[in-house]
C-alpha cells in the first residue's frame, strides 16, 4: 500500500513549507535567499563600483540624482529538506496504529511537500546513529523510490539522537530544513540535539509522534516492565501514585523538548497514533503553514 495515498497528496498539495532565507541552498529555487543577484524580487540600490554589471545600472536614478546606482535583486534558491525519521524500537508501540506507521507517513508528507516546491528532500532514518539516507527527491518520478525506501525502514534498537545529529553535522550537510519525526521517548539527547541543529543554522521542525501507552498508561498491579529497545526489565507495582508520577515526569520531559525546539527557532507539533482519523493529522502537523497561507 502506498504511503502517499491520493487523498493525502490532495491534502498536501495546498501546503507550502516555508523556508527561512538563511536556510536556503545554492541552487535556484523558489525561496528568497540572502544572496542579492539576478533575481526578480527587487531588494535595494547601491552605488556603482567599477566592475559591476552595467546592465543593472538604474538609469532613471542616474537622471534624477546624477549618480550611477545599481539595482539589486534577491536571488531565489531552493532548500535542502532533511527528514530525520526515528526508527528506534519504541516506535513500534501504539494501539490503534503504531507510531512508526504514522511517522512514515509524516516523513513522506514532508518529502512530498518539499518536492512540490522544488526543494531537495532526503529521508534519513536514525536510531543510535544515522542510518543510510534515501536518494534525494527531485521529481515526481522519485516518489515510488521514496515509498519503497520508507517501507523498507524497520524499527529496532535504541535511540541516541545526539549522536545522530553529530553525524549529520560531520557529513557536512548544507543548511536547510531539518524535520525530526520521533516519539521523543528518551529523557536525554533530544533537547541537546535540537539546540545543536539550531546552532548549525538549520530550520527545525519537530513532529512528536506519541501513543496513549507512553503518556497515559493505565495498567495497574504488579508488572514486569520490559524496555522494547534494550530488553531491560524492571519490577514495579503499578499503583495510582506511581502512574501519576510517571505521567507527570513524561509530560515534563516533553515540555522540556518543546521548549528546546522553540528556543532553537523551530516548530513543535504533537500527534497521537492512537487518535488519528484518516488524514486529520496533516492539519496538526502543518497548522502554522496553513495559517500563513490563509487556511485551506
Amino acid at each position: 500500500m502506498k504511503i502517499l495515498t491520493s487523498s493525502l497528496r490532495r491534502a498536501l498539495d495546498a501546503i507550502r513549507l516555508p523556508v527561512r532565507a538563511s536556510s536556503t541552498a545554492n541552487r535556484q529555487g523558489g525561496h528568497r535567499s540572502p544572496v542579492l543577484a539576478s533575481g526578480v524580487e527587487f531588494a535595494d540600490h547601491r552605488p556603482y563600483v567599477p566592475g559591476d554589471d552595467s546592465r543593472r545600472i538604474d538609469w532613471r536614478a542616474y537622471l534624477r540624482h546624477g549618480q550611477l546606482t545599481l539595482r539589486q535583486f534577491e536571488e531565489e534558491r531552493d532548500a535542502r529538506v532533511v527528514v530525520l525519521l526515528d526508527l528506534s524500537g519504541s516506535m513500534i508501540r501504539g494501539d490503534v496504529e503504531s507510531k512508526l506507521e504514522l511517522g512514515r507517513r509524516v516523513a513522506a508528507a514532508f518529502a512530498y511537500v518539499s518536492l512540490k516546491q522544488h526543494d531537495r528532500a532526503i529521508v534519513i532514518p536514525f536510531g543510535e546513529t544515522l542510518e543510510r539516507e534515501s536518494a534525494p527527491l527531485r521529481a515526481a518520478s522519485d516518489l515510488p523510490e521514496l515509498d519503497r525506501f520508507i517501507h523498507q525502514s524497520e524499527a529496532g534498537g535504541g535511540t541516541d539522537f545526539l549522536v545522530a545529529v553529530r553525524a549529520l553535522a560531520e557529513n557536512d550537510f548544507p543548511r536547510g530544513v531539518v524535520v525530526v519525526v520521533s516519539d521523543l521517548m528518551k529523557p536525554e539527547g533530544f533537547a541537546e540535539g535540537f539546540r545543536m541543529l539550531g546552532a548549525l543554522g538549520h530550520q527545525l521542525r519537530v513532529v512528536h509522534v506519541q501513543c496513549d501507552e507512553d503518556i497515559d498508561p493505565t495498567t495497574r498491579g504488579e508488572l514486569e516492565l520490559e524496555d522494547v529497545e534494550t530488553g531491560e526489565k524492571m519490577l514495579v507495582r503499578a499503583t495510582r501514585p506511581l502512574l501519576a508520577a510517571y505521567k507527570r515526569i513524561v509530560a515534563e520531559h516533553h515540555e522540556r523538548f518543546r521548549d528546546a525546539c522553540v528556543r532553537a527557532g523551530g516548530r513543535f507539533a504533537t500527534i497521537n497514533s492512537d487518535h488519528v482519523v484518516d488524514d486529520t493529522w496533516v492539519r496538526d502537523v502543518f497548522q502554522p503553514d496553513l495559517s500563513r497561507m490563509g487556511g485551506r
Binding site: 529523557p187 504488579e222 516492565l225 520490559e226 524496555d227 514495579v236 507495582r237 506511581l242
Partner: protein, 603 residues
C-alpha cells in the same frame, strides 16, 4: 533450681506438622504473589524516575516485604502454638492438676452431639492422659455432694473404673462445696503450684472466680428446647368457683417449631374419692417462632381442690425433632379448694334467697324456721360462719358476729324510691340498681358508725353495721318486695354481704410452680405427691432442686453458643483469648502489607 519449659496439649508431631504447614503456606503466599505481569514499554527510564519519585523514604523498600513476610510467619507460628494449648512444664517442682467434672443433672442431656456426660468423661480421660510426669492429678465430681473420683497419688489407670461409678446426679452441682474441696486439696503444703480444669456444660461458676489460671472446657450445646417457664393458677375473685390458669412457654431454640400444649385438671384430690378421669382444659398445637415466648390464660371451674398439670409434647422443629430437656416439659400447679362457709338461713320460705345462696359453690347452707331459730343460743349458733335472716331477728340475748338480715325491722315505707346507693362499699361492689323498684321497705334507724348502703330520700333501707366483734348487713326489704330479685345483682349482693360479714375473701393462691409444696396448714398433706407423675418428688427439698434444674437449663441454653459445642478451651481472662489475638495480629500484618503495596509505599 526450677527449670520451666514449654509443652503442648497436642502431640508434638501434630504441632510440628501444623507449624510446618503454616510456614510453607505463608512462604508460598509471598512467592505466588510476586509473579508479575509482563508489560513492554517504550522506555524504562521514565518508569525508573517515577519509581524513584514514589519510593518510600522511611523504610527500605526492598527489605520491608521480607520483614512483613517474617512477621506474618511469626504470627502464623504463634497462632499454631496457641492453638496447640501450650502449657508450662516444670522439671523439678511437684505440680498438681485438679479436674472438676460437672456431674449435675443437665450433664445427662442428650443434645445434637450425643450425651454431654459421655463427651465430658472422654475429654477428662484424654486430658488426664496428657498430663506430664511429675504432675499429680486429682479428679473431683461436682454433684450435689462433690466427691473425689481420683485421689492424689492414685494411678491413672484407676480413673476409668472410678468414672464408671459416677453419673449425673438428680440435682445440680454444688459449686461452692466443689470449690472448697479444690482449695482443701490445693492448699496442702507440698502443692506449691496447681491448676484447675473445669469441665461443665455452662459458664464457670462464680465461686471459682478466685482461681488463677483456670481452664474451662465447655460441654454445653445450643440445644433445641421447649420449656414451660411459668405455670400458675388462681381463683377468680369475681366469679365464685372459677379459676384462671396461666401457662408460659418458651421456644428456646434457633428454629421455628410447633408444640402440643395440654393442660388438664386432676379431680382426684379428695383422698376418699375414687380416681376420676382428668378434665382436659386446653389441648392445642401451637406454632412458635425461634426464641418466642407465649403466655396462655385458660379458664377452669371447680370449687374443689384442683391439681393441674401442663404438659408439652410433640415438639417439632424445622430440621430437627429432639427436645433437649424433658424435665421442663411438664409442670404442676394446684388450685386450692374454695373456702367453705357454713351459713344458716332463717326463713319461713324465701325461694329467692335460697336460690341466690345456692349459686355459691363455697357455701354450706342450712335452713331453719324462725320458730326453731328462736330457741337457739349464742353457743349453738357459733358453729355457723354467718346467719342469713329473712323476716327474722336474733332472739333476745343471742348474738352472732356475722349477720345478714333481710326485712330488718324499721319504719315501714310504701313504694320507696331508691335515691342513693353506696356503690363504693364492698357489699355493693359490681352491683347495679338501675330500674330497681321496691313495693315496700323498712327505714332502718341508723346508729353511730352505720353506713347507709341504700337510701330512699332521707331514709336508709340498707345499712352496714360494724362493731369490733361483729358485722351486720341489714336490708329493710326482702327479695320478694323488690325487683332486685330478678337481676343478676341479687346473688352478687348476697355473696358480697356474706364475704363482708364473715371477713372472708376469696382465696387467690400464689402461683404454684413446679415442685412447690402446697401442703395444708397442718403440713400433713402434700397433694402434689398424689399424682403418679410426681411421686419422684417426694420431698419439698427435692422438688425445689428439680425446679432449679429446669430453670437453670433454660438460662444456660441462652448463654451457651453454637461455638461452645465442642471441647473448646478458653482461659479465665476476661479479655480476648490468645488465639484471637494471634489471629488478629496475623490478619493485621497481612492487611498492612497489602495496604503498603497498594499505596505504592513498597517497590
Amino acid at each position: 533450681m526450677n527449670v520451666f519449659g514449654l509443652g503442648f496439649g497436642l502431640p508434638g508431631a501434630v504441632v510440628g506438622m501444623l507449624a510446618a504447614f503454616a510456614a510453607i503456606s505463608v512462604v508460598l503466599i509471598y512467592l505466588l504473589r510476586t509473579k508479575p505481569k509482563r508489560q513492554p514499554v517504550s522506555n524504562l527510564s521514565f518508569w525508573a524516575l517515577a519509581a524513584k519519585d514514589t519510593q518510600p523514604r522511611l523504610l527500605s523498600a526492598s527489605r520491608l516485604p521480607w520483614l512483613a513476610m517474617l512477621l506474618s510467619l511469626l504470627c502464623a507460628l504463634l497462632l499454631i502454638a496457641v492453638m496447640a494449648r501450650p502449657k508450662h512444664v516444670s522439671s523439678s517442682e511437684v505440680g498438681l492438676e485438679i479436674f472438676v467434672l460437672d456431674a449435675g443433672r443437665t450433664m445427662g442431656v442428650h443434645d445434637a452431639l450425643g450425651s454431654r456426660w459421655t463427651r465430658a468423661v472422654s475429654e477428662l480421660e484424654r486430658r488426664v492422659r496428657q498430663v506430664g510426669d511429675g504432675t499429680d492429678v486429682v479428679v473431683i465430681a461436682a454433684a450435689e455432694r462433690p466427691r473425689v473420683v481420683l485421689a492424689r497419688g492414685a494411678s491413672e489407670a484407676e480413673l476409668g473404673p472410678a468414672l464408671t461409678r459416677v453419673e449425673p446426679s438428680e440435682s445440680s452441682a454444688d459449686w461452692q462445696r466443689a470449690y472448697d474441696a479444690v482449695m482443701a486439696i490445693a492448699g496442702s503444703p507440698d502443692a506449691r503450684r496447681f491448676s484447675v480444669t473445669l469441665i461443665t456444660d455452662g459458664a464457670a461458676p462464680a465461686s471459682f472466680d478466685g482461681i488463677e489460671g483456670m481452664h474451662l472446657i465447655g460441654m454445653g450445646a445450643a440445644a433445641s428446647n421447649i420449656s414451660i417457664t411459668g405455670f400458675s393458677a388462681r381463683r377468680d375473685a369475681e366469679a365464685v368457683g372459677e379459676y384462671s390458669v396461666f401457662v408460659s412457654l418458651l421456644n428456646d431454640a434457633s428454629l421455628d417449631g410447633t408444640f402440643r400444649l395440654q393442660v388438664s385438671e386432676q379431680r382426684s384430690a379428695q383422698p376418699d374419692a375414687p380416681a376420676a378421669e382428668p378434665v382436659l382444659l386446653f389441648d392445642e398445637t401451637i406454632p412458635m417462632s425461634a426464641g418466642e415466648a407465649k403466655t396462655f390464660t385458660i379458664q377452669g371451674f371447680s370449687a374443689l381442690e384442683s391439681p393441674l398439670v401442663a404438659q408439652v409434647s410433640n415438639a417439632a422443629w424445622r430440621g430437627t425433632a429432639s427436645d433437649a430437656l424433658a424435665v421442663d416439659d411438664v409442670a404442676y400447679a394446684l388450685v386450692p379448694a374454695l373456702g367453705r362457709t357454713r351459713v344458716l338461713l332463717v326463713t319461713a320460705g324465701d325461694p329467692y334467697l335460697e336460690a341466690a345462696l345456692s349459686t355459691h359453690a363455697g357455701l354450706e347452707v342450712s335452713v331453719m324456721e324462725p320458730s326453731a331459730f328462736s330457741r337457739e343460743s349464742t353457743e349453738s349458733l357459733a358453729v355457723y360462719d354467718a346467719l342469713v335472716l329473712s323476716n327474722a331477728a336474733l332472739p333476745s340475748g343471742v348474738s352472732h358476729p356475722s349477720v345478714v338480715a333481710f326485712g330488718a325491722a324499721g319504719t315501714p315505707l310504701l313504694r320507696p324510691t331508691l335515691s342513693a346507693a353506696l356503690l363504693s362499699h364492698p357489699v355493693l361492689a359490681g352491683a347495679r340498681f338501675d330500674g330497681v323498684r321496691f313495693s315496700r321497705a323498712n327505714a332502718i334507724a341508723q346508729a353511730d358508725g352505720d353506713h347507709a348502703l341504700l337510701r330512699a330520700g332521707d331514709d336508709a333501707i340498707a345499712v352496714v353495721r360494724e362493731t369490733e366483734t361483729s358485722r351486720a348487713v341489714l336490708f329493710g326489704f326482702v327479695p320478694a318486695d323488690s325487683s332486685l330479685r330478678r337481676t343478676e345483682s341479687m346473688p352478687l349482693v348476697v355473696h358480697h354481704a356474706l364475704a363482708y360479714v364473715t371477713r372472708r375473701h376469696e382465696q387467690s393462691p400464689l402461683p404454684l410452680r413446679l415442685g412447690s409444696v402446697s401442703a395444708d396448714a397442718s403440713g400433713a398433706r402434700d397433694p402434689l405427691t398424689m399424682h403418679a407423675g410426681f411421686r419422684a418428688a417426694a420431698s419439698g427439698e427435692r422438688a425445689n432442686a428439680i425446679t432449679r434444674v429446669a430453670v437453670g437449663n433454660t438460662e444456660r441454653a441462652e448463654s451457651v453458643s453454637e461455638s461452645a459445642v465442642a471441647t473448646q478451651e478458653f482461659g479465665r481472662a476476661r479479655g480476648p483469648s490468645l488465639v484471637s489475638i494471634a489471629a488478629g495480629l496475623f490478619a493485621a500484618v497481612l492487611l498492612l502489607e497489602w495496604l503498603l503495596y497498594h499505596r505504592g509505599r513498597l517497590a
